[in-house]
């Protein structure tokens, strides 16, 4: 290891982005919030910030774009979100990179710091979560660290804003750090040799050289113009020559040497306590991870969710909103004025008729769905921010393994109970393509979203407990069966389950509220236009008498196979646009007393398993490709009707009191 000269060159003033990088779960998003004043989702589950969030901030009278990247452990990516981070960092020439690190975990933090240093961009190291570290007696020495690494190091407690002003001040004048050369001499020489082959124009030549030595050829695709065949050949020669000296793969050697350096850095700049203290946090953590009590906790959490979302929101709140607020006051008021002010029956019917945009779409979106979805996102936010989700992942790991997934799939699955569309987007945190495809299939098939759940649970409440049990049983067994089969049929690998479990944290109310609002905004933007469109289509079909024809055409399917009244065809038809809307259609039919208990159960099973809503279908296309999305939808459609038909047959034969 040798020291090298210091190079504090101020950068030319043409870079206008500030990149935030760091390990998962270190409070990056909170720092982002402090810098930009804008909100992003701050979460406790590793890898939740899948999409890149950007905001702007003023530094020294100039406006900069702040980019928040998904948490990453290393610049050699393993999952899609880590790849996103790598690509952002490798392809930008930023004004400055801010690395946010966890004070409690110096080794992981410094490992990334060393990799970022190799980029040759200005770098500021933020040591966050100083409060949690202090609680455990872990004390960093930022000054010493700053002197060794020759970069600014700032301790912060992001949740209280401590240290943020100092960070902002440093952003005015960032400087390029000196490159520390800590690899063995022969490796350093190879790095130099490769760097000298790379063109001057390329930023972070050292980092690219190290990556090439590590056998990460994907950097070549980031700069296709640079890596001509002859250059690649020359580089390969250097790499091969170096590999000759080592018995094990070079990437491991490089990593080991870097970690050795990290170890010595840590020993110089961190103090650890001699005795471990057990906090209430640890005790609670043990409980929620326990094989038995962990399961009990999981069931309790699900039950609480049911009480809050299914019972309180979908029952009490919806009753108030739909029947009292809309039913007694708003709807009669609007209907009165529309009938008086708007000429022509067509437009009147379009707005406030049986399939009216206001009476059906708006009432439904705001009176029925909004309370349920709000309650769900609030509850999910608490689960996320408290750090419970990774613990649920541990508890569910073995069950998910039967479906070709592992515990990590808990996040999209639970989020799917809120909104399957949003959940499909988060499948990106899964490491292999196979897992992402299986999760998408299961989300499409068997996970009802909260809007749908609210309606369905309301209807199930009307029939006996057996009905709910049968419905739940069919859903879970379909999920396990389809998961199991697709894990056998689909090619590709499963990733291994390695998951960080962060400490429990008290969710912050302001954070929770803003997060829920952002999700609601997103949801309403997705959902309301879809409601309006669906209602409009229904209205047109009804107005011109086409609806009756469709009902007649689909009668064999609906009446013969499922044994349902022909009116339900209409519900399934709108189910193509939104499943919950379809479920609401069934709800209306049931309320009119047109369905027996058996028919209610069959229709509910079918609509739960039914095709994805249009928004989810679009996201399926975006994430999985058109062909896969079509296949999934077709499979799900057939499966739903088969399951419904089978249940219809069974219920006809078996004397089950419903």
């Amino acid at each position: 290891m040798k020291e090298c000269h210091i190079a504090d060159n101020p950068l030319p003033d043409n870079q206008s982005s500030i990149i935030l990088a760091g390990n998962p779960n270190v409070g990056k998003s909170v720092i982002f919030q402090h810098l930009t004043g804008h909100y992003v989702t701050v979460s406790n589950y590793p890898g939740t910030t899948v999409d890149i969030t950007t905001g702007t901030m003023e530094v020294g009278g100039k406006s900069y774009q702040v980019i928040d990247t998904p948490g990453t452990l290393s610049l050699i990516p393993r999952s899609e979100d880590e790849r996103v981070t790598r690509d952002v960092i490798m392809s930008h020439i930023p004004w400055c990179i801010i690395q946010v690190g966890d004070c409690k975990n110096p080794r992981r933090t410094l490992d990334l710091t060393l990799q970022l240093l190799e980029m040759g961009h200005p770098l500021i190291l933020v040591l966050n979560m100083g409060d949690e570290a202090q609680e455990r007696g872990i004390i960093p020495n930022p000054k010493a660290l700053s002197e060794i690494l020759r970069i600014p190091v700032i301790p912060t407690v992001a949740v209280t804003g401590q240290g943020i002003p100092a960070l902002k001040k440093l952003l005015v004048n960032p400087y390029v750090p000196c490159t520390s050369c800590f690899y063995s001499p022969d490796i350093e020489q190879a790095i130099k040799n490769i760097s000298s082959l790379l063109p001057e124009t390329l930023a972070s030549k050292r980092r690219i050289s190290v990556k090439l030595l590590s056998g990460d050829a994907s950097v070549k695709s980031l700069f296709p113009d640079v890596f001509t065949q002859s250059l690649s050949l020359n580089i390969d020669q250097i790499v091969d020559a170096l590999q000759e000296h080592y018995s094990r793969p070079l990437d491991l050697i490089l990593m080991e040497e870097r970690l050795e350096h990290v170890e010595s850095l840590t020993n110089k700049t961190w103090t650890f306590p001699h005795h471990k203290t057990t906090t209430w946090n640890d005790t609670l953590s043990r409980w929620t991870l326990h094989p038995f009590w962990g399961m009990v906790t999981a069931l309790m959490v699900l039950y609480l969710m049911y009480l809050f979302v299914g019972s309180f929101a979908a029952g009490t709140l919806v009753d108030f909103f739909e029947n009292t607020l809309f039913g007694k006051y708003i709807t009669p008021f609007v209907t009165y004025w529309v009938k008086h002010l708007v000429p022509g029956e067509f437009i009147q019917q379009l707005l406030v008729g049986e399939y009216g945009l206001f009476t059906m779409a708006i009432t439904y979106a705001l009176g029925l769905i909004l309370p349920i979805v709000t309650a769900f996102f609030l509850f999910f936010g608490i689960l996320e921010d408290s750090g419970y989700l990774p613990r649920l992942a541990v508890t569910m790991d073995r069950i998910f393994r039967k479906m070709g997934l592992n515990g990590k799939a808990v996040l999209p699955m639970v989020l799917g109970l809120g909104c399957d569309t949003m959940a499909t987007l988060t499948t990106r945190i899964l490491e292999t393509k196979k897992e992402r495809v299986i999760t998408t299939i299961l989300l499409t098939l068997a996970i009802p979203c909260s809007a749908q759940l609210g309606v369905i649970l309301g209807m199930l409440g009307g029939i006996s407990g057996w009905g709910t049990l049968i419905w739940l049983f069919i859903l879970i067994s379909s999920m396990i069966l389809v998961g199991y089969l697709s894990s056998r049929i689909l090619p590709g690998e499963n990733s291994s389950f390695i998951l960080e479990i962060p400490p429990f944290r008290m969710p912050q109310i302001s954070n929770l509220l803003i997060k829920t609002l952002v999700r609601l905004e997103w949801y309403l933007k997705e959902a309301v236009p879809m409601f309006a469109l669906a209602t409009f289509l229904l209205f047109i079909l009804h107005w011109f008498g086409i609806l009756e024809n469709i009902e007649r055409l689909s009668e064999p399917l609906v009446s013969s196979l499922l044994g349902l009244p022909k009116e339900t065809a209409e519900a399934f038809l709108i189910g193509f646009l939104r499943r919950d809307y379809g479920a609401a259609g069934l709800y209306n039919i049931a309320q009119k007393g047109l369905m027996t208990h058996k028919q209610i159960l069959v229709s509910l099973v079918t609509i739960t398993l039914f095709v994805p809503c249009v928004a989810q279908f679009l996201v399926n296309i975006k994430e999985r490709g058109l062909k896969a999305a079509l296949y999934i939808s077709l499979f799900v459609l057939i499966f739903a009707f088969m399951a419904g038909g089978l249940l219809n047959l069974l219920l006809t034969w078996l004397p089950i009191p419903l």
Binding site: P249, L252, E256, E263, L289, I498, E500
Partner: protein, 240 residues
């Protein structure tokens, strides 16, 4: 893999015992060395006879290849080399002892990396079946040598009924509440290894085991991690 050291290097003049032993069994040692070399080439998929022959001439001498063929230990067909049934059994045994010795030197005796290989070569000839089993149990039935090549399993690995308490064991043999220091991680699954390393699980790291079911829950530094059984099997720890 570095080429196997020349047997002449093994004649350490300062160590008379070994030297005597060595000359007594000189012939046997050359055969052993030859079998090891072929094993190593074959496990890497190099089955062409000619390059192997050349390597043997360079590393040992010109006769050993023919001797191996004559003794009915190896077969050459269409310039493709393979072991006979007997040859394979004997070679597996020698390779196993040599690689176990390497593990012992590196993990427990902590002999500097550069010296491990040559010393292991000397040591392998001194181990009888009983000692070999004891070492294997002591090391927790390791599956790979320090260079990442498979150690052929012995009888004791299949039985797994250990009379001795092992010093080194894979994480899946630990109980909740126990601690250990990482000695090595099996390297066959590359991305997994990277992930473990960047989470701070590297040789020397102290690991506390909190829970073993339904998943392994361990504490590394201030981080709690959950791992599945298959990952735990690849992390070897020295008991504390």
């Amino acid at each position: 893999m570095k080429t196997n050291p020349n047997p002449n290097n093994n004649e350490n003049p300062s160590d008379n015992d070994i030297k005597n032993l060595y000359s007594e069994h000189r012939f046997e040692h050359r055969i052993d060395h030859g079998l090891c070399l072929i094993w190593h080439e074959l496990e890497r998929g190099n089955t062409q006879a000619d390059p192997i022959k050349e390597k043997m001439i360079e590393a040992i001498d010109t006769r050993v290849f023919d001797e191996l063929t004559r003794s009915g230990l190896i077969l050459e067909e269409n310039n493709l080399l393979e072991f006979t049934e007997t040859g394979k059994t004997i070679a597996a045994d020698i390779v196993r002892r040599r690689r176990l010795a390497e593990r012992l030197f590196e993990d427990v005796l902590e002999i500097p990396k550069g010296e491990v290989e040559s010393r292991a070569n000397e040591f392998e000839h001194l181990i009888d079946r009983h000692v070999e089993e004891s070492i294997c149990i002591l090391l927790g039935h390791p599956r790979e040598c320090p260079h990442g090549f498979a150690i052929p399993p012995g009888k004791c690995c299949a039985d797994k009924e250990d009379q001795l308490e092992s010093i080194v064991a894979s994480l899946d043999h630990f109980e909740p509440g126990e601690s250990g220091r990482v000695t090595y991680i099996i390297t066959r699954n590359h991305p997994q290894l990277h992930k473990l390393m960047s989470l701070g699980i590297v040789p020397g790291t102290l690991i506390h085991v909190h829970q073993v079911y339904p998943s392994f829950v361990i504490k590394v530094e201030e981080t709690q991690l959950a791992l599945e059984q298959k990952v735990a099997e690849n992390i070897y720890l020295r008991r504390l």
